[in-house]
């Protein structure tokens, strides 16, 4: 795949002396003041404008993922802001680097399971059961299910799923998730909640966000949350307190690891 063989193209944006175009629309005349951020994000990403239901669902997902208190990402952001207050973007970037497998990997894993179920030639119900059994047999957690704190049920999930159903999206991914949820409870012999990442995987599937870029949606939402924590760090700094507490509470030892 040398550059001799193929010239890549961009379909996103270009500009002239007096105009900027995004996905073929004039930024000034057709987008600023006419689209919300959420509509613009969908449009820039997928090249088509979202309908009202898609916008409502994407907003719900973005609102859900923005904030969850003093998480590892937030702590990283506050540490870097404290060391380098002149570069707010670096503090945000540091926190975003934590949007990795531990939390968001489960969203992607769940999205892949839903796609597997929807594409199964033997039928969705049969594949959903097989997916649950396969994970159970391998003693692996099933992505999108269970939560360490929110028990027995993650309160975000019914809200997100209900909202999508009200909005009247096609419903395929939600159907697959509900099939899987029933099988999970039966196969595991106890109730495992659909967690927020499971519900989000279904909702993003419903509005046509490809699994390969779902993590990016979480990154955008979380970036806003991190900016809020930087603001709080400006007003009521906690970084030095966390630093001193860590030095004090994680003792040095010279015994072998």
């Amino acid at each position: 795949m040398s550059r001799r063989d193929r010239i890549p193209k961009t379909r996103i944006s270009y500009h002239t002396t007096d105009a900027i175009y995004v996905r073929g629309a004039n930024l000034v005349d057709e987008l600023i003041g006419k689209l919300t951020f959420t509509e613009m994000m969908y449009f820039q990403l997928l090249g088509k404008r979202p309908d009202a239901a898609q916008t409502r669902i994407l907003d719900a997902v973005l609102v859900t993922l923005m904030e969850h208190g003093l998480t590892p990402s937030v702590i990283a952001t506050r540490m870097i802001y404290n060391s380098c207050p002149e570069a707010v973007q670096a503090a945000v970037a540091a926190g975003l680097l934590g949007v990795g497998s531990t939390f968001i990997g489960t969203m992607e894993g769940c999205a892949r399971l839903l796609e597997e179920i929807l594409a199964a030639p033997e039928g969705e119900a049969s594949r959903a059961k097989q997916v649950a059994q396969r994970h159970r047999a391998a003693k692996r957690p099933i992505p999108g299910f269970g939560h360490p704190i929110h028990k027995p049920d993650d309160p975000r999930s019914p809200r997100l799923l209900g909202l999508a159903e009200e909005a009247g999206v096609p419903g395929k991914h939600i159907r697959a998730l509900r099939l899987l949820a029933a099988d999970v409870d039966e196969v595991y012999g106890r109730h495992l909640t659909i967690n927020a990442t499971g519900a989000v995987a279904a909702l993003l599937g419903e509005i046509g966000i490809p699994q390969e870029v779902m993590r990016g949606i979480a990154v955008v939402s979380r970036s806003a949350g991190l900016v809020g924590h930087i603001r709080e760090e400006q007003l009521d700094p906690a970084a030095r307190f966390i630093w001193e507490m860590t030095e004090e509470q994680v003792p040095y030892t010279d015994e072998g690891a």
Copy 2:
């Protein structure tokens, strides 16, 4: 400022077994499905809900800053995605690290000038002229004015300012910017456009975003733009082409620098 003396607190979020609270509101009952991303971002950042005008203005700013083609940030993101496709968040973070002084510093610089003008005991008009003269005398560019491509006028600025005026915000920052613009043209002896960063500085000031965290607004908007470019890189990869072109067009020499 030792930890003994002061316990920092957080006012942003906490959670219980069955609920998550953000700024005192129940995430599931009061925020998901009720706030747009833009409203939620404002609420999480400032601790109060935006009114319709504030939301409209913040949306306009976020839409404006999202996308400007194959910029250095975008090139960095595409390079890192190519090297490390398993970590979308790292590719976004790499691009965000470019939201620094060259572009966004001018927004912050302009915001500081507007605050200086609004707070001047001798009156706004007098201080605006003095600001223009001071920069001219020092042969320094005046932040928020001029554009290398969009001449004679940056098309985004009248749109953004007009939209804010229609929305009926207080108008102080816009008034200061317009005063300054008239003086800049007179003092420099030629027309310098209010550029997008200048207009954005005024709009964010109007809706109460502190100057110290304005850069964060750009970071959030740009993060969405970078996700769109990662998606395009998945569909029509350009990174290797840019890499090979760079190796070919930036020749090696052993002559002294």
Copy 3:
């Protein structure tokens, strides 16, 4: 694994009013001026001082991985430096984010194969052949072998392996790599060079660097290379040239992807 149950400890460093200790040694009296960077890095990482052979091998690896011209990592670093010259650390960080699966993943993958071969109950020779056959059957590239440019042989590999053999390290990992190399050529029916990542995987195994942290060795070496490119960007800037070339050579189209 709650904090109630287990208090983590650190074995790396502590300080008093008048001294800093690293791995039990007094930084000022026992380390500064007595250890090279490479010895200190090994000592801080593994908690024991390297012998002369280990130091020689680690130096060789670090020298090998530092620089390979205008790579994607370097381009990312130069782009971010151009946008944000006030934060050299952010430009380095942006480039380091590219030390991911595409290049360095093959080092880790090769290291895992070598460990598999060395631990095989049925004998190393038998497992080496099985590893080659397994990858061939799955039509997967075998990590640590082959190179797109350096054909038929990567010149770095014999140098690195020869140097380690001269240094007199145990030689287990090198033996496993040579076994595998012979089987690869036979099973694939053509010569595939041991590439630099393959040789590095064997050398780092020889000196006791755990596979889980091998990527970190590449990160350190590459960080130095990126600093050199930032210095060149200060003296003879290329970022704007690459940016303009990219805008010019990657055309906009409105045809569907």
Copy 4:
């Protein structure tokens, strides 16, 4: 500065099918196994090989800056490693983003003062006194002096300065630093230690590292330190403990900030 006008060049590296060249030297024949990491880093950065004294000093600086316990950078790295263990490079990058103004800015600030003193037409002694008086009058801390923990003296500084003097470098920067130190004590009316960043600024100046890229030296050294903490996090994880402790000890309040 359009690309039409000027073609940038690189003087660092190029490769052919069977060789890689760095700064004109054949990597395999002339560098691997012949240079230490420290020598290679100097050579790649400045385009000339260091002599023994320069190598000794650069090693001493790199050893000094590598490790200082559970600092904010280390905490950020451990947080990101915990969230995203598949991307060691992202965890290192997150920590490096903290190599900013708070700590390293003082090194650069001190280096600029030393250059100012050395270049003063009125003589070094006169300018050194003026620098001390200027900072005192402005009630600003003087970069490179004072330390919150290491009192009355930072133990690293006499060791670093002594080692450089033994090595027989020209000594100009050290002379300027000692002049300044005497004036600081006199002008401030109490003893302020030359701290490690002050001593490092003088040593890097002595070996010809330009002030504009000094921060990069700290970045390289610190990257090694962060890799050691990732290894410890693999063996004895502390990130979750720090996270839970932070949630517990930084309480939520709904009172106004």
